[in-house]
Symmetry: C2
Subunit: 166 residues, 2 copies
DNA sequence: CTAGATGCAAAAACTTTGCTCTCTG
DNA sequence: CAGAGAGCAAAGTTTTTGCATCTAG
């Protein structure tokens, strides 16, 4: 029940990244840019926004335009390979859907996002939906919390642009 | 455990609206515009976006600018009187926080939003947060479902601008 | 009377699009 | 080779802001 991040191999060049693999399986035409973006997303252990993906892609290989990144993440979202999130920073964040269903706990003091999964909750969600007469097809759970040990409150910034989060 | 909407009195003129009351309690300067917006929000039984609030306010009294609506909902959000939502339509939606904690079930076929509350879930949320070493200060739960009785599927529109939802 | 509110229009921030050229399958 | 994809810049949307002008307390 934790952030299942495991040591990922350097992913030098040709080993199709996790997400590239998914693209291939769905029959997407694999261009250099898509491969690049797929790789960035596969290696991301956080929830990058489009800007992040764009910057990281440029860092690896200076051959993408921001428009392509937008088009690609949108495509991947439609194909169910990515999930779009909104943690309140004004920009959409993306989350590879193949990490398994998980939820987020946002540290309201630092903005850090922690992933977690919970079987009991999954079950309860199904039940709640059924109770309302629906079959559950998706869910979104976000908890906002504060570290148990009080660490001295600080001035809460503005809402927009809270700086880099995880 | 349902959408607790009760017959609200016409709210003719001077009876401070539910939300105006909250504003007063927090010592906000009550201008005509704020009173108007507060009233619109108090009477809303759905999850209006800024445009909606603006239009409804204009309909009641032609004396607000969209900028003021933006500034006001932001203020009310900061004061904890409103909660911002994102149901995926590209615009922020607002939800009076005094209806009590509740969650949403979005009908993926119609886009309709159903509110519900669940004690068991509240409890579980607290536990999950504590398990991760946090004290729960907020939460957001959205279920996406499909009516139990299959009613004939229809083409799903684009992602942006899915039209009016509830 | 004065700090805070409002209007208006301009600007920002984020995302999508039209069109031409390129490249995958 | 044809049709899908990429780049670039222009256009859209939604939200924020600067500034001069009001107004609640």
């Amino acid at each position: 029940m934790e952030t299942r991040i495991q040591a990922r191999p350097p992913a030098q060049d040709r080993a199709p990244s996790r997400i590239e693999q998914l693209c291939i399986e769905r029959g997407l035409k694999m261009t250099g840019q898509r491969r690049l973006i797929a790789r960035v997303l596969s290696e991301a252990e956080d929830h990058p926004d489009v800007e992040d993906v764009y910057r990281r892609a440029l860092a690896l290989d200076n051959k993408v335009s921001i428009a392509t990144v937008y088009r690609t993440v949108r495509l991947l979202e439609e194909k169910g390979i990515l999930e779009r999130r909104d943690f309140g920073g004004g920009r959409a964040r993306y989350d590879p859907a193949d990490r398994g269903h998980h939820h987020h706990l946002i540290d309201v003091d630092t903005g850090k996002v922690i992933e977690f999964a919970d079987e009991e909750f999954e079950e309860l969600a199904r039940i709640m939906a059924r109770r309302l007469g629906f079959v559950l097809v998706g869910q979104r759970l976000e908890l906002f919390g504060r570290r148990a040990e009080p660490v001295e409150a600080e001035a809460p910034g503005k809402r927009r642009k809270p700086g880099r989060e995880s």
